[in-house]
């Protein structure tokens, strides 16, 4: 790639109207960002998969299945955190419904995974097990075409995107803001949680979807599939970071932060904040949906508990701990919190929520800029 990245680090990019869009898109991420991304890509797309696939199981550097799956899951959470940062950190809209969009993406791809089970289910029926149990004779109409991989990919984007668009249109148009928006988004989340719990809604009730067998005919539990899904999740995270960086350094991004800081002024300059919020809100929902779709085959189950209010609040906590308005911060926050979670829930299972709460309080009080802010402070002190 022959981008003059070094020359293009300032916020008001030195590009002109003649610079091709692709160049502008990739040059929004600075030189340091590219170095970090390259190292990350090397680690996640080359090192981890080859260690998992090529090294013998008893080798010291072999990464066992458990960790590949755990890290892949955390990559998905990090993607969600980047989306949360776009909508909360930059646009100032505190959403407590990101877990819903994540779950919708997961369910959308889960439908395909259920169809791929074929006749290998407990009841050896072409129907999902729970449908046989409910004595249904065929798939409901909204399951149509879900056996097609590409259609389900489309559904992963359209389902959360459409819901976010419709909900956002009415709520933003009514100028609902701040804590009121947070509450309404949580109410929507809760309504969907109850809906998905219903057995006759057709999504497996409280058991959700599980016992997946294949993707495109390949076994879902094979090491190759696990490594692929992990690498895909990491790639999606990198894409979300690149896209986010382009957006927040573009004029669009400057308007977004302007809306966050002084919405009235933005309106009186002739911008309609509705479309700006709606765009980033819908995009954030789609990104969460894609993360959900990557998550479901790695975890092997999706049920309404993903829509629990606590999950969506936790997404906000990752973002705050990592550092709002930095993109990379929330991704780091998601990784740090979830790694400590997986250690903590084994060591002191009862105390995890207390610890999470404590971490959130401490970060809010002591590190308003989150971990990224702490790093910057330390570095500034070192230089001095």
């Amino acid at each position: 790639m022959h981008l003059k990245v070094g020359l293009l680090t300032t916020k008001i990019i030195m590009s002109t109207t003649h610079t091709p869009f692709v160049v502008r898109f990739f040059s929004a991420t600075g030189r340091k960002g590219w170095v970090a991304l390259a190292l990350f890509a090397l680690l996640t797309i080359v090192a981890v998969p080859s260690s998992h696939l090529l090294l013998p199981v008893d080798h010291a550097l072999h990464i066992p299945t458990f960790y590949v799956t755990l890290l892949g899951k955390i990559m998905c959470y990090a993607i969600v955190a980047v989306a949360m940062d776009l909508i909360w950190g930059y646009a100032g809209v505190l959403s407590l419904a990101q877990g819903l969009f994540f779950a919708l993406g997961a369910y959308a791809f889960g439908m395909y995974l259920m169809r791929e089970i074929g006749l290998d289910g407990v009841y050896q029926s072409h129907l999902a097990d729970y449908m046989v149990f409910l004595d249904w004779k065929e798939y409901p109409w909204y399951w149509k075409f879900t056996e097609h991989f590409l259609y389900s990919m489309m559904l992963v984007i359209v389902a959360p995107g459409l819901l976010a668009f419709v909900f956002g249109f009415f709520v933003f148009r009514s100028r609902v803001k701040g804590v009121y928006f947070a509450i309404i988004s949580q109410a929507m989340l809760y309504a969907f949680l109850l809906l998905f719990f219903m057995n006759n809604f057709g999504f497996g009730g409280n058991n959700g979807f599980t016992d997946f067998k294949r993707i495109l005919g390949y076994s879902i539990t094979s090491p190759e599939m696990r490594a692929t899904l992990f690498a895909l999740s990491a790639s999606m995270l990198m894409f979300a970071l690149l896209l986010g960086r382009y957006l927040v350094t573009s004029k669009f991004g400057r308007i977004l932060t302007a809306i966050r800081d002084a919405e009235m002024r933005v309106m009186f300059l002739g911008y309609n904040p509705l479309w700006y919020k709606l765009f980033i809100w819908t995009l954030a929902a789609i990104i969460c949906g894609v993360a959900g779709a990557l998550y479901v085959p790695q975890v092997g189950i999706i049920n309404p508990s993903e829509m629990a209010t606590a999950n969506s609040i936790e997404i906000a906590i990752w973002t705050a701990i990592g550092g709002r308005g930095t993109l990379i911060g929330p991704a780091i926050g998601a990784v740090v919190v979830n790694l400590s979670k997986s250690w903590f829930t084994v060591a002191f299972p009862e105390y995890w929520l207390y610890f999470l709460g404590l971490m959130f309080v401490l970060v809010t009080l002591l590190l308003p800029q989150g971990l990224v802010g702490l790093y910057q402070q330390l570095r500034a002190r070192m230089v001095r």
């Binding site: 869009f21 502008r24 800081d261 911008y271």
Partner: protein, 274 residues
């Protein structure tokens, strides 16, 4: 701008007389007719009618609660009037009913507004503040791909010189002094290139020196834009040498040149009486 235009325009405004008739007189750009706004029974504006002429400079004074800010809110769509009309005459034979438009639409047709408390984007640089204000396509699909072009850059450079902030272009706007923030907001209005500028207490919190320079700036703008200035600072109003409108309790009290208004017994009463 040459002095002759300035003089010419001032005298033109004074010759024109102070009519506030119902039909549109030749040079009107904005006509407020019989506007009433009430908040829980309290009438912030009470059957108010006002006319603003193309490219005039007008000062609006009045005691607290006279309805000055509410009047601006009505024009810019922030508050909906209960009764009356606000008509905008951007061109000959063209009339726009402002009460039907949203804030953003009103801004786009050429009405800029400065708030009482300086409202700028504190976490953006001065340059970026002006960039966002630039008169251009304000839709998402444009902003997503927009590049700061030479026209914008030149325009920003001009405005930076005009508002005396060219040394602070890369500074965060939140770091500016209060007076500089006021100027930046005025600069943002000018970037929009509006036909009508509504300025709510533009010199509040400015030093005497800054106030005087602001007065010079406004005087240089009349003839190019219509300026409506709400102010409490009487020395500043005198410096502008414009027609003055006095509001009291949501209604028009009187209009005329500053000296005439100051001598008006009704005005003296509302300011000093009670």
């Amino acid at each position: 701008m040459s002095d002759t235009t300035l003089e010419g325009n001032t005298s033109h405004v004074q010759e024109k007389g102070f009519s506030s008739s119902e039909t549109k007189p030749g040079n009107t750009i904005l006509q407020i007719s019989n506007i009433t706004v009430s908040f829980d029974g309290f009438k912030a504006l009470n059957d108010l009618s006002l006319n603003f002429e193309l490219n005039e400079l007008r000062c609006i004074i009045g005691p607290n609660g006279a309805g000055k800010t509410t009047m601006m809110d009505c024009i810019t769509g922030k508050t909906r009037a209960d009764e009356g009309t606000v008509l905008w005459y951007p061109e000959v034979n063209k009339t726009v009913d402002l009460l039907k438009l949203s804030e953003a639409e009103i801004a786009l047709i050429g009405i800029g507004r400065k708030f009482q408390k300086p409202t700028i984007f504190e976490s953006h640089t001065v340059f970026e503040n002006l960039e966002l204000a630039m008169k251009t396509d304000k839709r998402v699909r444009f902003s997503l791909f927009a590049v700061v072009d030479d026209v914008t850059r030149d325009r920003i450079a001009d405005i930076l010189r005009l508002i005396n902030l060219n040394e602070h272009a890369d500074q965060l706007a939140g770091r500016l002094s209060h007076g500089q923030k006021q100027w930046l907001e005025i600069g943002m209005l000018l970037m929009q290139d509006p036909k009508l500028l509504l300025l709510d207490e533009p010199v509040a919190g400015m030093t005497d020196d800054e106030t005087e320079r602001t007065g010079e700036l406004f005087n240089s703008l009349k003839g190019k834009h219509t300026l409506v200035v709400v102010e409490h600072d009487m020395a500043f109003v005198e410096q502008l040498k414009s027609k003055v409108t006095v509001l009291d309790q949501g209604s028009l009290l009187c209009e005329g040149p500053m000296a005439e208004v100051q001598a008006n017994p009704k005005v003296i009463e509302v300011y000093l009486g009670r």
